[in-house]
């Protein structure tokens, strides 16, 4: 019990032995709340731009320019109705959902299989080599591939279609998605599968009946992470989806920004609508996602 207490508060233990336990406890509590206060101030400073996006979305451009405070004086939905009536925002949104949805599906299929192999067959030569290839894919300057791919896809008539972007997104997501899957599969005890082998179960069957049902939360985390990567991507979408009918949100906002750079109300409304799915999805799986991403990046 004493040890557990020490572990949880390495710095907070008071050295003054003369004070009673009660005052020590109270001092500790005050110190802890002071730290919370300091952290909240830091959050307000560092997250100020985020609060600004959502609050400015409810202010008219005139109000945004005339007052320094970001608290809406006369909250209005004008910016949102402008986006719906005068721009193709919801069309961009649909494109984004299609591209991100299908890109995620393909990434999950490829990375799930590879992640399982990396976790269970890591002693095989081909697997350790593949692991190295993934490292290179991760650092690959994608612009180098985009130059020939643009020419290839243009000749194949795939520019301004979702296929081009979906295929490229899949490769872009592979390294992180595979490493995240590998980490989650590693956490599923091998003993379960090995018991099944002894009973004469094939590798494939054990994968289907034992590993897949257990990897639910991990798969959810990878799905959402890859979805966000696709949903947020700008460069590839801007090269391959130039037609307003296939444009995704980031490209649409960039186009709007270059034409009406000072229409802050509409820009902030578009930015906040674009961010809502991102933030909600993130909150759902933040715990798993953070674990997986850190493991993926650092252990490789």
């Amino acid at each position: 019990m004493q040890k557990a207490l020490d572990n949880s508060q390495p710095y907070a233990r008071s050295t003054a032995t003369a004070t009673t336990a009660a005052t020590r406890q109270r001092n500790n509590n005050i110190k802890k709340w002071l730290l919370t206060l300091v952290m909240l101030v830091i959050v307000i400073i560092l997250d100020y731009p985020i609060f600004a996006i959502f609050l400015n979305a409810f202010r008219t451009t005139t109000e945004i320019i005339s007052t320094a405070s970001i608290i809406p004086q006369h909250p209005t939905l004008e910016n949102f109705s402008y986006l719906t009536a005068r721009t193709n925002f919801w069309g961009f949104f649909t494109s984004s959902l299609i591209v991100a949805g299908l890109g995620t599906l393909l990434s999950i299929i490829c990375a799930g299989g590879a992640g399982y192999v990396l976790s269970r067959y890591h002693k095989m030569r081909i697997v350790s080599n593949y692991s190295r290839v993934l490292m290179l894919v991760q650092m690959f300057p994608i612009i180098l591939a985009l130059i020939p791919l643009f020419i290839i896809f243009k000749n194949a008539g795939l520019v301004n279609t979702y296929y081009s972007v979906i295929l490229i997104y899949t490769v872009l997501n592979l390294p992180f998605a595979t490493w995240m899957f590998e980490g989650f599969f590693d956490a599923i005890p091998r003993e379960l599968e090995e018991a099944a082998f002894v009973d004469g179960c094939s590798r494939f069957r054990s994968l289907r009946t034992i590993v897949l049902p257990l990897s639910g939360p991990g798969t959810a985390a990878v799905t959402i992470f890859t979805f966000l990567l696709c949903y947020n991507e700008f460069l590839i979408a801007s090269i391959f989806l130039r037609d307003p009918d296939t444009m995704t949100i980031p490209v649409g906002i960039q186009m709007f920004m270059s034409q009406y750079s000072t229409d802050w109300g509409s820009l902030m409304a578009a930015a906040s609508l674009a961010s809502i799915p991102t933030i909600i999805f993130f909150l759902f799986v933040q715990k798993y996602m953070v674990q997986g991403v850190v493991a993926g990046a650092v252990k490789g």
């Binding site: 949880s8 390495p10 802890k32 709340w33 919370t36 952290m39 909240l40 830091i42 959050v43 560092l46 997250d47 731009p49 985020i50 600004a52 996006i53 400015n56 299989g113 590879a114 399982y116 192999v117 081909i126 697997v127 593949y130 290839v133 490292m135 894919v137 650092m139 690959f140 300057p141 612009i143 180098l144 591939a145 130059i147 020939p148 643009f150 020419i151 295929l167 899949t170 490769v171 090995e194 082998f197 002894v198 590798r203 966000l228 700008f234 460069l235 949100i249 906002i253 960039q254 902030m268 930015a271 674009a274 961010s275 933030i279 993130f282 909150l283 933040q286 953070v290 991403v293 490789g300």
Partner: protein, 307 residues
């Protein structure tokens, strides 16, 4: 950490011998089957274009015609081009300051967040959000923050009778702005990785340092930093790679301007190819970037293998 893992390992070995024997008789096709889609798509989307781009870099083609073979001319022209030299310099400055800035901010926050205090989980989540927002959303709000007249930053500066600073039209301030925004987008990743590393440090070491009379700085130097040293080196290299590779932050903020002050290698390769229609020059710049990134990746693999 004492008895159980050992027995687990031995039982592991015993059971695993059986499937291995079976595997010798009949080759297990599952790993090949599961790796096939990934390998196929990597070959189509990266390997084949990589080889094609290598050919392009020795030709004087455009997006419409493949052009003729010109030998090393694209590379020689690239190396002597002041615009290329400027972009190498900007990429280096951008990478170094982004890494240092995001690491220090991330480390500071990580050290605070491993302590025990109310609302810690909520605060941690709020501090991760800058990292998950898309580049375009980040740039929209930061462009608003650093506007010349009504920008938040210039308003705050005017309280101290400073400014106004024209962040996006002054070359030096444009570089500073891109770096600050990159730090803002990257510090949460540093923070969560370092929190994970800090949590693996044995608390008995802090106890021992305290008994030896170490103050906070001494215990940071002798306990905390050695504990996160390896992961820090990997994070520095990884973040350098990501910064060199980052197209979106500088491009969306300034398009490489004013007068090419924030033009990175990626932006130069993009402009050469898609704006100036000189595919050979673009491919040459992209290849030089690949070599720089490869060197960094090799460095990182060395450190990983050493652990």
């Amino acid at each position: 950490m004492s008895v159980t893992p050992v027995t687990e390992q031995t039982s592991n070995l015993r059971i695993r011998q059986q499937p291995d024997k079976v595997a010798k008789r009949r080759i297990d096709m599952l790993p090949f089957l599961l790796l096939a889609p990934s390998i196929l798509i990597i070959c189509i989307i990266e390997l084949y274009p990589l080889l094609t781009a290598l050919v392009y870099s020795f030709q004087n083609g455009s997006l419409l015609s493949s052009g003729t073979f010109v030998g090393l001319q694209n590379y020689l022209a690239t190396f002597s081009d002041p615009e290329f030299q400027g972009s190498v310099l900007f990429s280096a400055i951008f990478a170094i300051f982004s890494v240092v800035g995001s690491y220090l901010l991330g480390l500071g926050l990580a050290l605070l967040l491993v302590q025990n205090f109310p609302l810690r989980g909520l605060i941690r989540v709020l501090l991760i959000i800058p990292w998950i927002l898309s580049s375009i959303v980040t740039i929209v709000v930061w462009r608003w923050m650093i506007q010349d007249q009504h920008g938040t930053v210039n308003i705050v500066l005017s309280w101290f009778h400073l400014g106004p600073i024209f962040f996006l039209s002054d070359s030096r301030w444009a570089v500073v702005s891109v770096i600050v925004i990159k730090i803002w987008r990257s510090f949460p990743f540093m923070m969560i990785s370092l929190i994970a590393a800090l949590q693996t440090i044995d608390n008995n070491l802090y106890e021992a340092a305290r008994i030896d009379g170490a103050d906070r700085w001494a215990s940071f130097r002798s306990v905390t930093f050695p504990g996160i040293r390896n992961i820090s080196i990997i994070l520095w290299i990884l973040m350098t790679i990501w910064s060199v590779n980052d197209f979106e932050t500088p491009f969306l903020l300034t398009q490489g301007g004013p007068s090419n002050a924030t033009e990175s290698l990626m932006i130069l390769a993009y402009k050469d190819t898609f704006a100036r229609n000189t595919v050979g020059a673009g491919a040459a710049v992209a290849f030089v970037s690949l070599i720089i990134l490869m060197l960094l990746a090799i460095l990182m693999m060395r450190f990983r293998n050493r652990d």
